[in-house]
C-alpha cells in the first residue's frame, strides 16, 4: 500500500529545490522506482515533489562544445531512439535499449535511472538491513547469487543502472542544482560506495536536483559499446554487464574506459583492465589479459563466484567485437 503523501508540481526549479530540501520529501520524475519503493515500504515519504512541471528538463540538444546535453526528464526510450546518441555514443544507446521493458523505458527517465535504489532482495524486502539503518547485511551470509563481487564493504548490493556505466565510460558529467547554486559532478563520482556511506547511493545532497547529463564531444577514434547478460531476454537486471569506451589511434588503444554493471555497489571502473589496454593493440593475448585483469580483485560471496568467469567472458567478447577491423 502506498503511504499517504502530499504532492506538488512546481513550475520552477528553485521551487522544486526548496521543497525537495525539506525532510520527508522525495523527488518524483518517472516514478518507476520511487512508487515501487513506497508501495513496498522500502522507505516512506510525507510529500512528493514532481519534476514534470519543468519542461526545460526534457530532450536532447547539442552543446556549444560539440557534445550533447540530455535533460534529466528525457525518457530512456527517447535516448535509445536518438540518432545523435546512436551515432556518436553507441554505448549509451545500447545501454538505454537494454533497460527493463518497453513500458518502463517509456516512463523511466535518465535522471531517475542514475538515482535508482539498489538491487538487493533484502533491501527491497522487509529486512532492516545496514542500508536501511540496521546493523547487518543479510546478503553476506544469505542468498547472494545476484550480489556484488567487487567493492562490497559491509553492504553487498549491486548498482542496478545500465546507463550509469555507459555514461561513466563516456566521461559524462551531471549537473546538480540546489537553492544554493549549481555544481557538476562526473558520473564516475556520482555514486557513493558503501565504504564511504552504506546508507546513500549518490553524492546528491538533500535538495539537490539532478537536472541534466552532459556528454563531452566524442574524441576522434572513439568506439564504445554496452552489453549486459541477463537471465531473460527483456525486463531483467544485468547479471554481468560491461561498458567500453576505447579511443583508437590506428590499431592502438590510446585510452580505455571500462565500467562494469552487476559487479559492485557502484558502476565499477575496471582500472587494471584499462591499464592492460592503454597503449596496446587488441590482439588475442591482450584481450585475454584485460578480461582477466578486470576481475583479478574479485571477492565473490558464497553464491556468486559464477560472475567472475562471466565477466571475463563478456569483456573478452565485447573487446573482440569492438576491436574488429583494427
Amino acid at each position: 500500500m502506498l503511504p499517504k503523501f502530499t504532492y506538488s508540481r512546481p513550475g520552477s526549479l528553485v521551487q522544486v529545490a526548496n521543497l525537495a530540501a525539506r525532510p520527508g520529501t522525495r523527488v518524483h520524475a518517472g516514478g518507476t522506482d520511487l512508487l515501487g519503493c513506497l508501495r513496498d515500504g522500502v522507505f516512506g515519504a510525507e510529500s512528493l515533489v514532481s519534476l514534470s512541471g519543468l519542461s526545460d528538463l526534457r530532450g536532447v540538444t547539442p552543446t556549444s562544445g560539440g557534445g550533447l546535453r540530455i535533460g534529466a526528464l528525457t525518457t530512456i526510450a527517447e535516448i535509445a531512439a536518438n540518432d545523435a546518441i546512436s551515432d556518436r555514443y553507441p554505448a549509451l544507446a545500447q545501454a538505454a535499449a537494454s533497460v527493463a521493458s518497453p513500458q518502463l523505458r517509456n516512463q523511466g527517465t535518465i535522471g531517475g535511472n542514475l538515482c535508482q535504489k539498489p538491487r538487493c532482495w533484502y533491501y527491497r524486502g522487509d529486512f532492516h538491513c545496514l542500508r536501511k539503518g540496521g546493523d547487518t547485511c543479510y546478503a553476506f551470509d544469505g542468498e547472494n547469487q545476484y550480489h556484488c563481487i567487487l567493492g562490497g564493504d559491509g553492504c553487498y548490493i549491486v548498482h542496478p543502472s545500465d546507463t550509469a556505466p555507459a555514461l561513466a565510460a563516456l566521461g559524462a558529467r551531471v549537473t546538480a542544482v540546489s537553492a544554493g547554486g549549481r555544481r557538476t559532478i562526473a558520473v564516475e563520482k556520482l555514486h557513493v560506495p558503501p565504504s564511504t556511506d552504506p546508507q546513500r547511493e549518490t553524492a546528491l545532497e538533500p535538495g539537490e536536483i539532478l537536472t541534466e547529463v552532459i556528454l563531452p564531444p566524442p574524441p576522434s577514434g572513439l568506439r564504445s559499446s554496452y552489453r549486459k547478460i541477463r537471465e531473460r531476454a527483456s525486463w531483467d537486471f544485468a547479471v554481468v554487464g560491461v561498458a567500453l569506451a576505447l579511443v583508437f589511434d590506428g590499431h592502438t588503444v590510446t585510452t580505455a574506459n571500462i565500467f562494469l554493471s552487476g559487479a559492485a555497489p557502484v558502476p565499477w571502473r575496471a582500472r587494471q583492465a584499462e591499464e592492460v589496454l592503454n597503449g596496446s593493440n587488441l590482439d588475442g593475448a591482450t584481450v585475454e589479459r584485460a578480461a582477466h585483469a578486470a576481475v583479478a580483485d574479485a571477492e565473490p560471496l558464497a553464491h556468486n563466484a559464477y560472475k567472475v568467469p562471466l565477466f571475463a567472458g563478456l569483456i573478452k567478447e565485447q573487446l573482440t567485437t569492438l576491436g574488429g577491423g583494427t
Binding site: 524486502g125 537471465e231 531473460r232 531476454a233 565473490p300 559464477y306
Partner: protein
C-alpha cells in the same frame, strides 16, 4: 465448420475471448457492492514459532476497521485442508510457515484493512524449524506436526531387480535436485462473500467451487445447502486456484458473517506470491541399468517431495509422481519409492502436471545419460525402449490398447524439429547448439486414488428459439473449457456454436462435479453434456419425427435442423421443433452425469491401472548455449501429441504453446529463493517468468489415431503440453555443452558450474 458441418476440430471464436480482450469481463476486483468491506490478512513472516497470544487492540484502532477476527472467533471448525485436517484457517498455537494467518481484518478501504493487518501483533517464541526435506526425515528433526514429518510413502514394486541387474551391463546413477515454481496467474487470488440471514454466497476466482463450498460451510458451521459458490471469471489458475482459494474464501466469508456486509478479499501480488501454494521441489534419485543392446533392464527411483508446512494436495501429487516415475518405457523390473515430507517451507499444491514434470525431467535426464554411456543417440535409445505395438505394458503392469502412440510422437517430433526455424537471430557470442528429446506417458484424468472425485454434472436447457443454455460443474480459467463445452454441445445438438451459451459454474445449478484439474475439464464436462443431450433427444426426437413424418430412430440433428436419415432434403428447423415441444409442454431441460470407469489398482505395490487411459507426447527442443556468458536460448520446440480427437484446434494449440513457454520458465529462470521458509523474490522483478522475447518458435503435430474415452474420442491436453518441455530443454543444453546438469532451473551459475572443467576462465573460479 468441419467434420460434416459441425464445429468439431475447427477454430470458431472462443465465447469468452471478445469480452476478455476488450476489457468487458468483470473479474472479482471489478465488482463492488453497496456497503462492501475490504479484507486483509495478518500473516506471519517467520516460518516456525510457538504462539503465546495474538493482540488485535492496535489493529482495531485503525480508522475504518469494522472487524478483526482471530481463531477464537471462528463459529465452525477452524480447519482448512483438502485431504488431511492439518491446517488451521487462523493460527492457534503454532506458526508453521510464512503466511500463516494470525487474524483477518475487514475495513472500509483496502488501505485501512492492510494497515490494520500489519498492526496485529503476536507473541512468538521462535523455533528453528526445518527447511530441507532430507533433514526433516532425519531422526531428531524438529517435528512440523505432532504426527511426525513423514506424511506418506508410495511405491511401485514390479519384477526382480536383483535378477534384472545381473543382465545390465551399464548402470547409471544420479541425484536430481528439482526446484519448485510459482503459478504466476495474471489475476491474483480474489473472492467476494455476500451474507444473507442464514446463508452466504461466495463469488471467487477459482478452479473448484465445490471445494470452496465445503471449506466455507465447515468454517461457518453451515449446511452445504446454505453456501452458494459461483465461479467468477478467472484470470489464470494452473492449479494455483484448485485447493488454495478455499482459504481466502473462508476468510472473506468469516468476516462477512460477522459484519453482515459483503466482504471482498483481493491479494496484493506480493502477498499472493509469499503465501500461496507452489509446485513441489523434489529430490529424485535414479539407478537405472541397460544391457549392451540398449534395452532397459531395471529402474530404481527414489523421490522425495517437500510438502512444506501442510499436506494440502501433496499426497495426491506424490501419487501421480509415483505412477509417472518411469515414463513410457518398457522396463520389466521397477522399484519406485515416493515419500512426502513436511518442512517449514511454503506448502506445495496443485500445479499443471501435478508431480509428473519433476519425475519426467528425471527419467528423461537418465535416458540421455544412459545413451551417452552406451554410445547410442538419445533418440535411438528411446526407440529401443519406448512402449509400442509389441511392448504395451506400462511400469505399473497396465496393458495399453493398440495403437500405442509414443513412438509415433517421437518420430513426428524429431522430424518437425529438424524442419523448424528459430524465432529470431542470436546476439554475438560463442554459441553451442544442442537438441534434446523428452517423452511423456500422461495418465488421463484422476489417479485411482482420486477416482471418487472423477464425476461431473451438466444441465442443458433448450430455448424456444433453438438456442441452448449449458451449465457445467467444471470451470473456465483460461484453458478453454467454455469453448470445449460449447463445441461438444453444438455438435451433439446439431446447432451453430454461437447458439450455445455455456455459463460459469454455480454450486446451486449443478451437482458437485469434483475439481477442474488433471486435464479433465473438456473430458468430464463434455461427457456429461453428451449424456444430457441424449436424455433430451428421448423427448425431442419423437416430436421431430412427427413433424418430419418419419420414425424417431431416423431423426438426425445438424445445421440447426432436424433431418431424416438418408433423406437430406427433408428438414425442419430446430427452432420449430423446440417451439412444438414448448407448445406441448414437454420438458426442455435435462441433466447429464459422467463418472469414470472403475479399475483395478493395488496401492501397496503400485501395480494395476492407476489411470483409465493415457495420452503420449514428445517434445524436441533446440537450444543455443553461450558457455562464456551463461546464456541459454531456446530456439525451437517441436511438440507431437497423441490427442485422440481435436475438439477445437486453436484452443488445443494454444494450450500446447502456453504449456511450452510456462515450462521453459520453470526450466531456465524461475527460481523460488527461500530463506528459512521466506520467499525473497515475491515479485516479477526478481522471480523471472518468460517474456515474449524469450518464447521459442513452436511446431505442433497432432496425432488423432488413438481415440481416448473423452467426448468424440478426445484426450486432455492441459498438462501433457507442459510436462516434457523442461526435460527436453535440459537434454538440449547438456547436448550443447557436453556435460550433465542435474539441477533445475538451469540458471547462469548452474551453467557455469557445468562447463567449468573445460572453460577458458575456469581458473577464475575459487
Amino acid at each position: 465448420m468441419t467434420d460434416g458441418g459441425t464445429p468439431l476440430g475447427g477454430s470458431h471464436a472462443r465465447p469468452d475471448a471478445l469480452a476478455k480482450v476488450t476489457g468487458q469481463t468483470r473479474y472479482v476486483g471489478d465488482i463492488a457492492l453497496p456497503g462492501m468491506l475490504h479484507a486483509a490478512v495478518a500473516a506471519a513472516d517467520v516460518s516456525s514459532a510457538r504462539v503465546g497470544s495474538v493482540d488485535t487492540s492496535r489493529a482495531l484502532e485503525i480508522p475504518g476497521v469494522e472487524a478483526v477476527m482471530t481463531a477464537q472467533d471462528v463459529p465452525g471448525a477452524n480447519l482448512i485442508g483438502v485431504i488431511f485436517p492439518d491446517q488451521p484457517l487462523l493460527v492457534e498455537d503454532r506458526v508453521r510457515m510464512v503466511g500463516d494467518r494470525f487474524a483477518v481484518v475487514a475495513a472500509r478501504s483496502p488501505e485501512a484493512a492492510w494497515r490494520s493487518a500489519t498492526a496485529v501483533s503476536a507473541q512468538l517464541e521462535p523455533l528453528a524449524g526445518v527447511h530441507d526435506p532430507v533433514e526433516a526425515l532425519k531422526a531428531g528433526a524438529d517435528a512440523v506436526h505432532d504426527s511426525g514429518n513423514l506424511v506418506h510413502t508410495f511405491r511401485v514394486e514390479r519384477g526382480d531387480i536383483k535378477k534384472a541387474e545381473a543382465r545390465a551391463t551399464v548402470v547409471v546413477e544420479a541425484e536430481y535436485r528439482i526446484g519448485g515454481q510459482e503459478h504466476a496467474y495474471l489475476e491474483p487470488q480474489a473472492c467476494l462473500a455476500i451474507p444473507e440471514a442464514g446463508r452466504v454466497t461466495v463469488l471467487a476466482s477459482c478452479q473448484c467451487p465445490f471445494y470452496i463450498q465445503q471449506g466455507v460451510a465447515r468454517v461457518l458451521g453451515l449446511p452445504l445447502s446454505a453456501v452458494r459458490v459461483e465461479q467468477a471469471p478467472t484470470g489464470g489458475a494452473f492449479g494455483g486456484k484448485e485447493d488454495y482459494p478455499s482459504e481466502p474464501a473462508a476468510c472473506a466469508a468469516l468476516l462477512a458473517w460477522r459484519t453482515r456486509r459483503p466482504v471482498r478479499l483481493l491479494y496484493p501480488r506480493e502477498h499472493d506470491l509469499q503465501a500461496t501454494t507452489k509446485r513441489h521441489a523434489m529430490r529424485v534419485h535414479h539407478r537405472w541399468g541397460a544391457d549392451r543392446a540398449g534395452r532397459l533392464r531395471f529402474a530404481e527411483v527414489d523421490v522425495l517431495l517437500d510438502a512444506g508446512a501442510y499436506a494440502g494436495l501433496s499426497t495426491v501429487v506424490a501419487e501421480r509422481a509415483n505412477a509417472s516415475a518411469i515414463g513410457p518405457y518398457d522396463v520389466a523390473a521397477v522399484r519406485v519409492r515416493t515419500r512426502v515430507a513436511y518442512t517449514n517451507n511454503l506448502f506445495g499444491g496443485a500445479f499443471r502436471g501435478f508431480g509428473a514434470p519433476q519425475v519426467t525431467w528425471a527419467h528423461e535426464a537418465t535416458m540421455d545419460r544412459l545413451a551417452r554411456e552406451l554410445g547410442l543417440h538419445p533418440v535411438e535409445l528411446r526407440r529401443r525402449n519406448v512402449l509400442g505395438e509389441r511392448r504395451r505394458v506400462t511400469s505399473t503392469g497396465q496393458r495399453l490398447p493398440a495403437p500405442v502412440m509414443a513412438k509415433a510422437c517421437l518420430e513426428k517430433a524429431v522430424a518437425a524439429s529438424s524442419a523448424g526455424q528459430p524465432a529470431r537471430a542470436l546476439p554475438p557470442g560463442r554459441w553451442l547448439h544442442g537438441t534434446g528429446t523428452a517423452l511423456v506417458l500422461y495418465g488421463c484424468n484422476l489417479h485411482h486414488g482420486g477416482q471418487h472425485l472423477d464425476r461431473s454434472s451438466a444441465v442443458v436447457i433448450l430455448q424456444a428459439d433453438g438456442s441452448a443454455v449449458v451449465r457445467v460443474g467444471l470451470t473456465e480459467m483460461g484453458q478453454g473449457n467454455l469453448v470445449a463445452a460449447q463445441t461438444v454441445a453444438a455438435t451433439a445438438l446439431g446447432i451453430d456454436p454461437v447458439k450455445v451459451e455455456v455459463w460459469q459454474p454455480d454450486t446451486t445449478t449443478v451437482a458437485d462435479s469434483g475439481p477442474t484439474v488433471a486435464s479433465r475439464g473438456a473430458h468430464a464436462s463434455g461427457l456429461a453434456i453428451l449424456e444430457a443431450v441424449r436424455r433430451l433427444r428421448r423427448r425431442l426426437d419423437p416430436v421431430a419425427a412427427e413433424l418430419l413424418g418419419c420414425e424417431p430412430s431416423q431423426v438426425m440433428l445438424g445445421g440447426d435442423a432436424a433431418r431424416v436419415f438418408g433423406e437430406p432434403e427433408q428438414t425442419i428447423a430446430m427452432e420449430q421443433v423446440v417451439q412444438e415441444m414448448v407448445r406441448r409442454r414437454i420438458e426442455t431441460i435435462a441433466t447429464g452425469w459422467y463418472r469414470s470407469r472403475r479399475r483395478r489398482f493395488d496401492p501397496a505395490t503400485g501395480l494395476g491401472s492407476p489411470y483409465e487411459f493415457y495420452a503420449m507426447a514428445c517434445h524436441v527442443a533446440r537450444v543455443a548455449v553461450d558457455p562464456d556468458l551463461g546464456l541459454v536460448r531456446v530456439e525451437h520446440v517441436a511438440a507431437a501429441h497423441d490427442v485422440g480427437k481435436v475438439l477445437h484446434r486453436d484452443a488445443l494449440e494454444g494450450q500446447i504453446q502456453g504449456g511450452i513457454v510456462q515450462a521453459m520458465g520453470w526450466a531456465l529462470t524461475e527460481e523460488l529463493k527461500l530463506s528459512r521458509g521466506r520467499l525473497l523474490n515475491p515479485g516479477f522483478t526478481d522471480y523471472l517468468i518468460p517474456t515474449s522475447d524469450d518464447a521459442p518458435a513452436i511446431s505442433i503435430a497432432l496425432l488423432e489415431d488413438a481415440p481416448g474415452s473423452g467426448p468424440f474420442g478426445s484426450k486432455g491436453i492441459g498438462e501433457p503440453s507442459f510436462i516434457p518441455t523442461a526435460a527436453a530443454i535440459r537434454n538440449a543444453v547438456c547436448d550443447a555443452i557436453g556435460a550433465e546438469v542435474d539441477r533445475l532451473p538451469l540458471t547462469p551459475p548452474v551453467i557455469v558450474e557445468a562447463v567449468a572443467a573445460r572453460h577458458p576462465f575456469s581458473f577464475l573460479l575459487p
